[in-house]
Amino acid sequence: MEGKTVDRVPTFCAGLEDRTFNEVLGQPLLKSSKLFLNPVAGMICNKWGPKITKPLVQPQISAGMEKRIKAAAELGFDATWALYDETFVILNSKKMARYYGSIFDAIDDGFGNITYMYSGPGITSRDEFEAWPYWPDADEVAQRSYKFYSKIVKKYGEKICLCGQASAYGIQEALLWTIGFEKVPIWVRREKDLVARFIDLAEELCLKTNMAMMDAGIEIILQSDDFAFKTGPMMNPKMINELFGPSYRRLIKAVHDRGGKYILHSCGDNTLLFDMFIDWGVDGLHAYENTSTVDIFNEKKMHGNQATIIGGVGIDYLLTERSKHSEIVDEVKMLIEKLSPGGRFLLGPIHGMSNMPAAKLKTMIDAAHEYGRYKN
């Protein structure tokens, strides 16, 4: 991240889902979907969902978050996205709400584990915005984050580089989730005050949790915020800069002031945004989604000495059951050959995904170790 010489190309884990970490750490006696997606649990969630979220459900989620980190270390990754995610409340047996105002479905991931998927906005009008009952208490979330990361740093800090993100999703992405992507352009024009309040609230949560993580010993903050889709930015870059730039500049400065580094994860083709991200102060950028139109090799040429490039390995085919191990090795060799000169490159999956076999990740890591040695 500092542009200093290292002996080989480091590997980065973009988060492991249940199927993958269970393969690494051993299968649980009872899969989570059996535990939670059954009629009895359903009845309890329907009746007392919000009440049981903190004492019963969130500890389970946190245990899962810790397993992700543990499995990443055991697989041999050098760095991992260390996510802690407790800003939600169970609404009923099938739905949960994020504190920020969006609704997610709890579903089976196809391997017997629970996962959650965005299902829609939780707020569709000014009245609903004012009446939303779950806006986060940033101090409380920060305190819980501090406890989680203190434990994680102690247990895994020497084994793997932890890039923390604590319950605070990207400001722009959270806004899209809360009011629905289709409505954002309209709200930006018609409900300016609410958009500004939302951004302030999200910034406060990000800032307080970032500082809590750093208090706990985390040195690298990783913020996910998908600013782009497959072929380009979601919004006009000028609008992105005006709406979210000031918050990100403050957040990144706060991390830098304490000697930390800041990585931004943004899916899709961010080609038109990279200059802006660098101007905001980011130290590293993750994803470079291979199924998008971004050109990771050109980005290396354009910005390789300003921001560390992280990712590159596809999850659409290579890191699935359908690929051959030799194909992964070939891709890793090619990526290292083209992206490692000059350093500032961490190789890894472009995203987490519930169908990623641990064996394919191991192949990727082994290949990185074999072909990623820097020549003196």
Partner: protein, 233 residues
């Protein structure tokens, strides 16, 4: 000036007025004039302009311009959505004023997000644009089974099926549908277009679909190509 000249001049003036009104619809869409689009369209109707003409010459043209600007990088996805929302705002008014059977003349399109996937933003944008372009859109929603899509395709005689797929865990939905269409012997009658984050030209070939749309605008172009060239009608 004789009577014929006067009549011709009147017709010319009327046409000019209509063109001007239609142009204001195009401009309203291109400039995202959410606040005035309803009044503009209502004025067109009051002037006696056929709703279908407003759609074909005004709305479709406006969307084409937004689409071109999106393709050239001048406009972004949010702008495309904004244009779609503006069109959504006035489509009920236009449909209200149409004769029965005027709507959806260009072709029937089934849209669905594959089984196991509940992402819908991309699909909804495509639905919105197809509807605004005069297609009859049958939106089956998200997490749709192959059986349901197949049943609907047979029931409606749809010309095109658009499948959205964001997660690589759910791509079997594409293959299953293509195989089912083949098994039912209707693969040649209905075209399958795929789109979404995990899809690609390679996946299209691997799964046996007919086309891959990288963007919502591409999807509309492909549908137009299939229907206008007679490939899917």
């Amino acid at each position: 000036m004789n009577m014929v000249d006067i009549k011709t001049k009147k017709v010319d003036q009327q046409e000019l007025l209509m063109e001007k009104s239609i142009q204001s619809v195009i401009t309203a869409i291109d400039e995202f004039d959410f606040d005035n689009i309803t009044t503009i369209v209502q004025n067109c109707l009051d002037e006696g302009i056929d709703p279908l003409q407003i759609i074909q010459k005004g709305i479709s043209k406006g969307l084409d311009i937004v689409g071109e600007k999106f393709d050239s990088g001048e406009y972004f996805l949010a702008d495309l959505v904004m244009a779609g929302e503006i069109v959504n705002e006035v489509m009920p008014l236009l449909k209200e004023n149409m004769n029965p059977g005027q709507s959806g003349q260009k072709g029937k399109i089934i849209m669905a997000t594959v089984e196991g996937d509940i992402h819908e933003i991309g699909k909804n944008i495509v639905c919105m644009l197809l509807d605004a372009n005069g297609y009859e859109v049958i939106d089956l929603g998200v997490d749709v089974t192959t059986e349901k899509i197949l049943e609907k395709a047979k029931e409606t005689g749809a010309h095109v099926i658009g499948l959205s797929c964001l997660l690589s865990t759910t791509i079997d939905g594409i293959k299953n549908l293509v195989e089912s269409l083949e098994k039912e012997g209707i693969k040649n009658e209905v075209k399958v277009i795929i789109g979404g984050a995990c899809t690609s030209e390679g996946l299209k070939t691997e799964m046996g679909a007919d086309a891959y749309a990288e963007t919502a605008i591409d999807a509309v172009k492909i549908v137009k190509n299939f229907t206008e060239s007679g490939i899917a009608v």
